[in-house]
Amino acid sequence: MTAVTTAGRRRDPAVLARRVLAALTGTVTVSILAALVAVGVLLVAIGQNPFDVYGALVEGSLTGRGLVTTLQRSVPLVGLSIALIYSFRAGVFNLGGQGQFLVGGLASVVTALALPGTGIAGIVVACAAGVAAGAAWGVVPGVIQVTLGPPVLVTSLLLNYIGIAGVSYVISLLKPPASSEQATPTIAEDLKIGALVPAQSDLGAAMGQALERNDVLLLAARGLNWSFVVVILLVVATILFNRRTATGFEAGVTGLNGAFARNVGIRGSRIVLTSLAISGGLAGLIGALVVLGTNYRLLDGQFEATGYAMTAILVVLLGRSSPVGAVLAGFFFSMLQVGGEELNRTFALSPAIASIIQALVIFFVVLRLGIPVVTQRLRKRAEAAATGERVEEVPDAVPGPRDNSTVKEG
């Protein structure tokens, strides 16, 4: 993420080259490689060739239909990560994405079922219901923290379990008596969010004739729905919010140093509540988009099974709470997930291999693995040996939010 002032320096090729080198030898790259090596060892241990496995993983997730699936999965994952960025960047450890996502999805499906067929306006109303429900659910841990003290980290997580059970109960009430599935009825046809280019439209028909049946462009145009565009807009809006608005700036300062922020007059409690409300609202919006654009109903346990909300926490950590980072990390993690399912079919491996790589990458990132760190330390040790001084460890930036769990009215 380069700020506006560094835009000029970016054109200098030497600086650019150094930046690229820094990125390639940096913590994130090294951590990804280390995770791949560690899982490679695991694969050898169970008698698989890691190169074959990784090759199949990339092929399954980045070519043809697999690429479209990866993009489809990236939409909710990046969307939820963007939602979490609002709280993580402000130093609020919101682990309640799962509940906010789910409650938003439920509110939108209930609204959509109650609405008579009203097209675009109906979709907007259903999404607004999702936002409102997610925000209301999300802000509860914030209210508890600023009024009484128990940290958001713990209360937001407990609320997930309550949300899962509560939503499951509401689904059991909405379930058509004749149905054997624990699911709400399906929403009206004209409340469904359509594909970017529906096959029946003029453009869709023209594309269908001009392109091969398995052309990625055609598959993407038909396989992706308008949520894709909404999430892209969210990414742009978040970048602008973080850089150009007073609240976005204050939230960033609070996340970097809570005590400093208090001393310059930023009200910690207001930041906690605002960031959680936005986080929860956006998570609720993503829930609404998944219901209206993909599932068209809410099936008990379906949202939890996707693992989107928990993976989004890792995406935010890997992307260092930056929106562009979330896009890259979200795409990468979706790719692992889609490729992992492919491995399940071709190599009879557990698809859990994707979550192992994901968690290991974060584990190594937190350990601050990185070539510069190592070389720096070696150089320091050499200098220290020369001068006879003790080596002081210099911790560099850790990608998590600082612990602001004790932020109080100040």
């Binding site: 128990p150 713990v154 850790v398 998590g400």
Partner: protein, 306 residues
């Protein structure tokens, strides 16, 4: 219907639910006292549950299973201590990544070793049976509670007493608490804070591994993916609520286990399963809020992480 609240069967269920929580809770408590915020309890317990059942299935012996559960718990705990204490990483981030890593690894190994997904249950697997005491087991009410204790249940009781004595009566326990309160001051007395912290985290690995074994070999003889189901987080909250003291911890966990037991029993009276699922979390949340409100009114310290 109200007699369920005091029925012997309810208390027997309470004991079954309490034993793994108590073992894990003592692990969380010692970490809390030494100043380490251990959010990997969930992962430690899940690893123990997998190790326990897998070990028993592969070796044919529940005791070997328990030993493997301990090893699994310690491996997870040592990755936490390496990251958090040696490398100085953010304890919350490292804990969360460790938890998710264990979820992935256990499902992966479940499929790689046993070729099944979701859950593993093999008939004839050696489990930990409840020990029936000849005399005391006959006592009404108390007997049904005692009769649902496995060997690990007695270990949990002994560990609770031992933990209380260790923290209050031994030199090492006093030093451990000193490290938790003022690591700098402890260091000036020649005590190594990181050594105490590492040891405490490893002890939580042992206790959490046992807790997992009780889940997968004692309460039932099967393993399901993610079978720890948020219990690790309940324990994190309980340790915060108890402020790291042994008796209050037992009380909080017993309340949780009681609500769990009543919820399960009420299902046979038509209580929707979702209410029973949510009840322990609702009670924990209410307790957290209520105790914080009480402490605030008394002007004491608010409940806060670490």
């Amino acid at each position: 219907m109200l007699e369920i609240l005091i029925a012997p069967e309810t208390f027997a269920a309470l004991v079954r639910s309490l034993v793994p929580l108590l073992l894990l809770g003592l692990g969380g408590l010692i970490c809390h006292r030494v100043g380490v915020f251990n959010v990997s309890l969930e992962g430690i317990m899940l690893a123990g549950a997998f190790g326990g059942l897998a070990g028993s299935v592969l070796t044919g012996s529940a005791i070997a299973g328990v030993a493997i559960a301990i090893v699994s718990g310690v491996i997870v705990a040592s990755s936490l201590s390496f990251g958090g204490i040696v490398r100085g990483a953010d304890p919350i981030v490292i804990g969360i990544s460790v938890n998710l890593l264990v979820v992935g690894l256990t499902s992966f190994l479940l499929f790689a070793i046993f070729g099944v997904r979701g859950s593993l249950q093999q008939p004839g697997t050696d489990g930990l049976d409840a020990i029936r005491l000849p005399g005391l087991g006959e006592v009404p009410w108390l007997g049904s509670m005692l009769n649902s204790l496995t060997a690990l249940g007695y270990v949990a009781i002994l560990a609770t007493v031992a933990m209380q004595l260790y923290l209050s009566r031994t030199r090492s326990g006093l030093r451990l608490r000193g490290v938790g309160m003022r690591p700098g001051a402890a260091a000036t007395l020649g005590i190594s804070p990181s050594r105490y912290q590492t040891a405490a985290v490893l002890v939580s690995g042992v206790l959490g591994g046992l807790a997992g074994a009780q889940l997968s070999l004692g309460n039932v003889v099967l393993f399901t993916e993610n079978m720890s189901a948020g219990r690790g987080w309940i324990v994190v909250v309980a340790v915060l609520l108890a402020n790291g003291r042994v008796l209050p911890l037992v009380g909080v966990l017993a309340l949780f286990a009681y609500v769990d037991a009543v919820g399960i029993r009420l299902q046979s009276f038509g209580l929707p399963v979702q209410f029973a699922d949510a009840a322990p979390y609702v009670v924990t949340l209410i307790a957290l809020v209520a105790i914080a409100a009480l402490r605030r009114r008394r002007g004491g310290i608010a409940v806060a992480a670490a």
